[in-house]
């Protein structure tokens, strides 16, 4: 059996193990160890490499960016950041058609700048925006689709965990990836908003426009608030922010917030509506602006962001319990992601040692596709992978195999990174197994079926695919800003 045969079997073994529900990091480590032993025929080599990846695989200053941005994200997701942003954007858009839906997209775009994980955004906005849209008579599927679709901005607008991992794996500067994501993120958010606006002209009933009569949600909510105000005249709806529907679930990833909220946005004064959003926007400006302005390295920016979030969240009313919960969630995500990173680097070193990576890239280049055709094939593979795996695992598995060919064909690595991320995110919204709808279902429980969420996100999937086509036609969307700031 040749070394390449061994590597092929190892790749197959990983797929079998992963689909059997073995944690992805475990699957990668066990196959890499066995593979390395079979390739070299020396057990010592396998032990040495395992030890080396465990110790030095993540032992670098650059890697500090991962736990620190996760810490910042955990504090922001557990705070009232998403709710404050949503209130502020909704206030600004209250006279606009489909304003509530567009506010969800806008708030998600800003929230994306304090968190790096789509699934966390989806869970938070399921609690913040979905009940509000229901209350205002928006159709259920539409409301769910907006939340699911706009949550993918979390991975596109910096800081983004996927961009960090991509940068680490490919040696592309993380700061450059962060800059490159901005224009695509904003354009995609605008495309989502335009779609919502136009669609509300054709189907106003879906956007609660032709129902001036308050529906039962409104009546119920008003009755509840009135009753409470009678009981506690000077208190500000304390129950509304309690964990009413927290339920444990396999999919409850770190960073999920379980709050039900009733914001009486429309009656608020301008100042009060904006007040909550100010510290968050300031933090975003400091962290992202600091990277773009060359003031901070990504690692430094992540530390500034984490410390800033730890200060802002308690000021916005985070209690001790939530404070500790943020640390707990950080511990869970950090351990999971970093072990995955160690495992992936073990796996890719084993594949490299076997000669498999060279074989794959010479095979791909031997097919003699043009760069565009190749990227399209990669996109299709990524979308399929996105329906089974989570986005970080896909990136860690696919990049070592795809990236050499990307470089060999002279494709811009920054541009490819952005296309890669959007393609993976399309997969996360695609039936039957895309992860975002499942995460939302885990948060919303019986209020929303997975099928409804998939159906609602379908228009957004189409918009994202259209956006990928735009990126293929106009690569400048992703490359213009990083080149300008170089």
């Amino acid at each position: 059996m040749s070394n390449v045969d061994i590597a092929e079997l190892a790749v197959l073994a990983v797929f079998v193990l992963v689909l059997s529900g073995v944690p992805i990091s475990f699957s990668l480590i066990v196959t890499s160890f066995v593979g390395m032993f079979l390739i070299t025929d020396k057990i010592d080599v396998a032990f040495n490499l395992l030890n080396a990846v465990a110790y030095s695989g993540i032992r670098d200053y650059v890697f500090a960016v991962i736990p620190l941005f996760i810490l910042m994200g955990a504090f922001m997701t557990n705070s009232r950041a998403a709710e404050s942003l949503f209130t502020a954007v909704h206030y600004l858009l209250k006279k606009v058609r489909a304003g509530l839906a567009i506010a969800t997209v806008g708030a998600n775009a800003i929230f994306a700048a304090v968190t790096g994980v789509s699934i966390a955004s989806a869970a938070v906005f399921s609690n913040v925006a979905f009940p509000q849209m229901q209350r205002y008579g928006y159709s259920k599927r539409m409301s769910l689709g907006v939340v699911a679709g706009s949550s993918i901005l979390g991975m596109l607008i910096p800081p983004s965990l996927l961009m960090i991992l991509y940068g680490i794996l490919t040696q592309v500067s993380i700061g450059k990836m962060f800059i490159a994501g901005l224009v695509p993120g904003i354009v995609l958010a605008l495309m989502f908003s335009t779609y919502l606006f136009i669609s509300s002209l054709f189907r106003p009933d879906k956007y609660g426009i032709e129902s001036p009569k308050p529906n039962r949600f409104v009546l119920k909510a008003q009755k509840k608030t009135a009753a409470r105000k009678l009981k506690h005249p000077d208190q500000n709806d304390p129950d509304e922010f309690s964990d009413q529907n927290e339920r444990p679930s396999k999919l409850s990833l770190p960073g999920m917030m379980t709050q039900t909220i009733a914001i009486q946005t429309v009656e608020m004064s301008f100042g009060r509506a904006m007040l909550g959003a100010v510290p968050i926007v300031a933090l975003v400006a400091l962290v992202i602006g600091g990277i773009w302005g060359g003031l901070f390295s990504p690692t430094e920016a992540s530390a500034v962001g984490a410390v800033g979030a730890m200060i802002i969240a308690p000021l916005m009313g985070m209690d001790w319990k939530k404070f500790m919960k943020s640390f707990q969630q950080t511990a869970i995500s950090v351990g999971g992601i970093l072990l995955l990173l160690i495992a992936a680097s073990f796996f890719s070193r084993m594949l490299a040692a076997s000669g498999f990576i060279n074989q794959v890239s010479s095979f791909i280049q031997g097919l003699d596709f043009g760069p565009i055709a190749l990227v399209i094939i990669f996109i299709l593979i990524l979308i399929v992978m996105g329906t089974i795996l989570d986005s970080s695992s896909i990136l860690l598995l696919a990049i070592p195999l795809m990236f050499p060919s990307v470089l060999a064909l002279g494709i811009d690595p920054v541009w490819f990174g952005i296309v890669f991320i959007i393609a993976v995110e399309v997969g996360l919204l695609t039936p039957p197994f895309g992860m975002v709808p499942f995460a939302m279902n885990a948060t919303l429980g019986k209020r929303a079926s997975v099928e409804d969420i998939f159906a609602g996100s379908f228009p957004f999937v189409l918009i994202m695919l259209a956006f990928i086509v735009l990126l293929l036609l106009f690569p400048g969307l992703a490359t213009w800003l990083p080149e300008l700031l170089r």
Partner: protein, 163 residues
């Protein structure tokens, strides 16, 4: 008996993870201190090397707790559609694989630890030299804890299947 061991192991894992999380918080503060220090002309030495070691240490400290909380990323899409017996058997298999790989790592890390400890190896240069053995030791201890957590989880799954 099993419940007792489980509670004890759980405490150890929580202590490890708390240390890990605290280190991450501390890392954030140190890096910010470094940024501020440089602005006012008082740079903190050795931050880069210390941050690098902290990433490894905090990762391994949290890994056993992640295991306990079922947080290691896995694809459950197919498995969740199989009958409970199949699902539980596969789950037990996953835990046994976990125990095996961390036994391998514990073995490798112990050798590296004793070697680094005897030779007093360090990373970094100049004013701040950081010994490498604490990181090696953390990897070893966390691996041992992972073996115990994995075997415990496998045992618990086994009893669930029997029921």
């Amino acid at each position: 008996m099993l419940a007792r061991i489980d509670r004890l192991v759980s405490i150890v894992s929580v202590v490890f993870a708390s240390l890990g999380a605290a280190l991450i918080g501390l890392l954030a503060l140190t890096v910010v201190a470094d940024v501020v220090g440089r602005q006012i002309g008082v740079p903190v030495t050795g931050i880069v090397e210390m941050a690098a070691q902290t990433v490894v240490i905090s990762a391994f400290l949290t890994i056993p707790y992640v295991m306990r909380r079922g947080g290691h990323i896995r694809a459950t899409v197919l498995v969740s559609r199989t009958p409970p017996v199949v699902r539980k058997t596969l789950e037990a298999l996953a835990y046994i694989i976990g125990a095996i790989i961390f036994a391998l790592l514990a073995y490798a890390a112990w050798e590296a630890f004793t070697e680094d400890f005897v030779k007093a190896s360090y990373e970094g240069e100049g004013a701040l030299r950081i010994p490498t053995w604490p990181t090696r030791l953390t990897i070893f201890l966390a691996s041992i804890l992972m073996i115990i957590e994995s075997l415990l989880a496998a045992t618990k799954t086994f009893f669930e299947v029997k029921k």
